[in-house]
Symmetry: C2
Subunit: 700 residues, 2 copies
């Protein structure tokens, strides 16, 4: 006997196919291949397997579905429409149109049931690993024998692209290591990618590969619906390992000529193919009812209708039998939801402290005490900002239990670790540190996954030069405005002996160019603490804190008398750090960030002493904030013509400097670094007080 | 009976350990763990396995050794010193010092025997896959039954870091697919990474994982020298699959307390540990001879000597027995070298056409005819620059047989394919196209590997937004000045419906910031051809050609009358594309790149017509070249104060624009894109002629 209603699943699947095909046809762009190939799978998942609550889409214990193969967005939107989320038929009609709820690739919106932004391949899968780790952490912190508050499962759908990307291997390797049994990956194995059959480039034994990474693997064919259901269901329950279900599918299933071809991956099917699908599927009746059986019987006429429907954006056809069937699951899920909320109530009564902790995790506010600590933060003696950042991170972590994160095998160097806490491991998720291994890309995306739900505040860390390895994840953090803190140490050429491969040059300004990300390059103790404070206070997206390997100059430490007003200035991204005589116009303005502030201040002292000049030193901890602070503020700080501005930054301003104010002299680096002791490298590139002074004197 | 001289190998290995330890001690920085752990392996490889010729280090059929775990550079330098390369004991003394031949991580220099720059983990391994593909291509083109000209093997040493990085998985998967039996990877499996034992994060079954990717795998312990030799030797011969030898090693082998700990990975061993090593190794006699047996017997005294030696940079101790033993292999190799050169002579006589082809591949010059074709290149009608670039690439590929490359599963979109040629596959390497699969990072690094030897000119291609996935390889191409052409299509928001994940924003200026890379964003047919021409003419490092998805405006096509002088202007990176009246000062200067040049030109026409203004339009195909062209040229083109400059570029100039000339109005994009038809997105961000005109009028 069937455990699932095969007839209705098939009907619903065909309706999903129809919705996908027509919305793509209307948009004149999109990817029908996956929605057609995986419609059965989607229908079973959303009808039988997933536990969720469209009325409370942020329900903390919902199962998550991640469409890692994000180009198949039409599948996801169709499913969310059919299961009570706020995606209407009209929204499907507006697929890929400006301002719609149904953009080309899924864009993170938990209210709509979209758990993460996907499209860049492999990211969604790695996000899922982060989500699974979050589930384990919440379970560790709040579950007990009586209260199984957190036991959600992450289902993530991968295509051949996800399978080939290196990030997926990195994330899978870590997931296997951590024994994340709350993740079920599903591999849509259709053997077709954009350039043709995958056998032109890919013939891994995927099952064996995942087994080698400590995953539990099973396979089935998507046409065996009972088997598919059983395997998904048993994998949802099975403990001990992460699980991969390899599902043999046919891309573009339901079409005539384009089925099983790369042509259907990323282009509309076209009226003829859609007409073929309609005539041979469960949606035939919809069209017969609407246009008459004769029209449907006539290939050309039906294709013409399909074409007209798309052109005129006629409303999508409704299919009550399919909708009613899919919606039944909501009722079943609502029972589970109710049970859970009652359990939580009991938990509140029996575990008041734990409950408060949970509440504070789900609804973060910055503790006032910590705010005060960070505002007033000062260090006794000069140090490298990586060390200072390590201490500030620990001050924060102490007060904010949801801070959790780790490094790509460099905690001893970047100092981004929670002291006195262990690494997560498969038997114990009570730690605050994650040993990401030498897997920067997965680290970034897993960090994003940790941050998606808003319960945890993730940090991730490596050398600044290896930002490159994780850039796609940094970009997605910004695009999703996730509160993910990136800590990048070893910020410039002063890295020294490790040489050019380890010396970031272009990275600082590259980061600044990314929308919705803030890059802090603090110059001292105060600015380091302020960088953390700004991030935690705003909670409005990711920040990167760029720290030095070497000590900062003594001249820049312990100078602030009123830190509250100093923090206000800091929030403008740049501020006057030193001025010979505030009542006079400066003779020269020296602007710098990070370790170069020390050079600027020492140069200023020298110019005051030896040349009796009025010098203003501007610190720029966050150029993006400075740029956003407006012309008036910028004028107050930086424009003092005819006094020249000297910008000192051991980073590339290559090419864009062609547009710079002729009144500004940029002392920067436009070549790669070299291997030598840090000071020698600094001198080689002209970053000593003496050399900078010479350049200033030349222009004065 | 032993096949190798165990006694001598052990002696040489200990000398390598000594050289590594002392050079690191002198530098006060470095990574002794790997050189100590892998000294035996290195000695066997360079004494028995590798075929090379230090007198002709560029010998086209030499075996290559790639130290993918580049931090272990002291091992490589010690080996090269011992085997006749131009690295002296003095050079080892200067380890990690400014201007030395022995920088912190190996820096590409074939004359020295350094086949590629390594340090960023996984890159060297992926480079090796590219080198192996090159070997297969050369063999396919030039070998026949009688002449086995190319049969070299790539040996590549990977650590745990290389194993964890996603790029290695990508590269290994492709290598397995292509059956590259001319690569032998060696896994230095010491179970220690920087943050401790690898079991905190990594417990893949590596053998199984590689078998799943169609590799042949064997294992052994590094202390079994005969077995190690036999396995390396048999793997060098074995056909059909790429091969992985997993070698169990002990990090820091030879030391006392620091052996087998993460402490020895990346810091000098210290005098006490070195003294321990000396007393218990084959180099003991060197110190006894130099300082007396009593000193060596006394722990503290010996440690003091070690410390003094480092402090005073005393010359390295010589060890003739070890050196003499290692150098013997050169003679054996010279015989092979001689045989090969004689074979080549015969080949020249018997296959004159083939020989000339080989010669032209090894000594590239740009064919004059092609230069003319590219200079005079024009298209009949407006098109997208991706299509134009595809056609230009094919013009080049037709005349230059060493052009070879491919896409990350997007050839239909980026058009970067050699028409009429097949994909490489394990049975046939005659094709000109490589199906890299959805593996951008490995693509970039394999492309670098293809370019390292100077015989091939690789191109690689994907969507511009996915530059992020391969940035580390792009950086290394620039660092090594490899002639690797990157073709990135879908250059901006006009990508349209695919939405923000697929719309590059920060990428254009990010690329421009990278030293030694040129970024071309051509605006029409001529500029596209010129971009290729510049790259092929200079052959002085990598270039990126950024192309559009959508058609360029008709107004920018077919305008040049004298293309030779136009090309000269183009080489300055920016030039006057249009000017109302060259005799008058302009009222406004409009500067743009790529598709925005069309907007600028159309806006100029409108301003001329409706406002009778003198308008200058500046095209900026390569901002880096413009920046490098000097103040005079820049002044001639862009400075015409008080006429304002309007820069129109659908890309981020975020944050750095705070430094821009107040006389310049930048019309750019500082947020992420959105999903909608391309024109709608363009309009949303203000990139229509009408909107741009409005902004120009506002400032005039």
């Amino acid at each position: 006997m069937n455990q699932i209603d095969i007839v209705n699943i098939k009907r619903a699947s065909d309706y999903i196919r129809y919705l996908s095909l027509e919305s793509i046809e209307k948009a004149k762009s999109g990817h029908p291949g996956l929605p057609l190939g995986c419609a059965n799978l989607g229908a079973i998942l959303y009808r039988y397997i997933l536990t969720f609550s469209p009325k409370d889409p942020l329900w903390a214990n919902r199962d998550r579905f991640v469409l890692s193969a994000g180009h198949g967005s039409a599948l996801l939107y169709s499913l969310l429409h059919l299961t009570g989320y706020k995606i209407s038929l009209d929204d499907l009609d507006q697929f890929r149109q400006k301002g719609s709820r149904t953009p080309g690739h899924p864009e993170f919106d938990r209210e709509l049931g979209i758990e993460t932004t996907t499209g860049p391949l492999g990211q969604g899968f790695a996000n899922s690993v982060g989500m699974a780790i979050e589930g384990k952490i919440l379970a560790d912190r709040f579950n007990d024998e009586e209260y199984n508050l957190f036991d959600y499962t992450i289902f993530t759908l991968m295509g051949d692209g996800c399978m080939m990307e290196g990030i997926s291997y990195e994330a899978a390797s870590l997931a296997g290591h951590l024994g994340l049994d709350n993740i079920v990956a599903i591999y849509d194995s259709n053997h077709i990618s954009i350039d043709g059959h995958t056998d032109i480039t890919f013939n891994d034994d995927v099952a064996k590969r995942f087994e080698a990474m400590n995953w539990d693997v099973a396979s089935c064919d998507i046409i065996e619906l009972d088997s598919l259901y059983n395997k998904l269901n048993s994998f949802k329950q099975k403990k001990g390992q992460p699980k991969l279900l390899i599902v043999k599918t046919i891309i573009g299933d339901g079409l005539d000529k384009k089925k099983d071809t790369s042509a259907i991956h990323g282009s509309p099917a076209g009226p003829e193919e859609i007409a073929y699908f309609i005539r041979n599927s469960e949606v035939r009746s919809l069209f017969e009812n609407k246009y008459g059986a004769d029209t449907v019987e006539n290939t050309e006429e039906l294709a013409l209708k399909v074409s007209e429907r798309a052109k005129n954006r006629e409303p999508m056809l409704e299919f009550p039998e399919a909708s009613d069937f899919m919606i039944q699951h909501i009722e079943e899920n609502q029972k589970k939801y109710k049970t859970w909320t009652e359990l939580l109530k009991k938990y509140k009564a029996s575990h008041p402290a734990k409950y408060d902790e949970l509440d504070s995790i789900l609804n973060f506010t910055l503790p006032e005490e910590l705010k005060k600590t960070l505002t007033e933060f000062k260090e006794e003696k000069p140090d490298a900002t990586r060390n200072i950042a390590g201490r500030v991170l620990n001050l924060c972590a102490k007060k904010i239990p949801q801070i959790i994160g780790g490094c790509a095998d460099l905690v001893g160097s970047t100092k981004a670790g929670v002291n006195g806490s262990t690494y997560l491991n498969k038997n114990d998720f009570s730690g605050r540190n994650i040993a990401f291994g030498i897997r920067e890309h997965a680290m970034g995306a897993i960090g994003n996954g940790l941050g998606l739900n808003g319960s945890l505040i993730p940090f991730t860390s490596t050398f600044f030069t290896f930002l490159d390895y994780m850039k796609p994840a940094v970009r997605l953090a910004a695009l999703m405005k996730l509160n993910h803190l990136f800590i990048f140490s070893h910020d410039s050429i002063y890295v020294g002996e490790d040489g050019p491969t380890h010396q970031p040059i272009e990275h600082l300004n590259s980061l600044r160019l990314i929308p919705d990300l803030l890059t802090f390059r603090p110059a001292n103790d105060t600015e380091t603490a302020f960088s953390f404070l700004y991030f935690l206070e705003k909670m409005n997206g990711p920040a990167a804190i760029i720290t030095s390997r070497q000590n900062m100059a003594a001249a820049v430490f312990n100078r602030s008398s009123n830190n509250t007003s100093k923090y206000k200035e800091f929030c403008n991204g740049a501020y006057i750090f030193h001025e010979t005589n505030k009542k006079l116009n400066p003779d020269v303005i020296l602007a710098a960030s990070g370790s170069e502030l020390g050079i600027a201040v020492e140069a200023a002292f020298e110019l005051e002493k030896s040349k009796q000049l009025n010098v203003r030193v501007v610190s720029i901890p966050c150029l993006e904030l400075f740029s956003a602070a407006g012309q008036d503020y910028k004028g107050k700080i930086m424009d003092s013509k005819p006094a020249p501005v000297v910008l000192i930054e051991a980073a590339s301003h290559r090419a864009v400097d062609v547009f710079y104010d002729p009144n500004l002299l940029a002392i920067d680096i436009q070549s790669f670094g070299l291997s030598a002791p840090g000071n020698a490298v600094g001198e080689h590139f002209g970053f000593t007080v003496r050399q900078v002074l010479q350049k200033i004197e030349d222009i004065l």
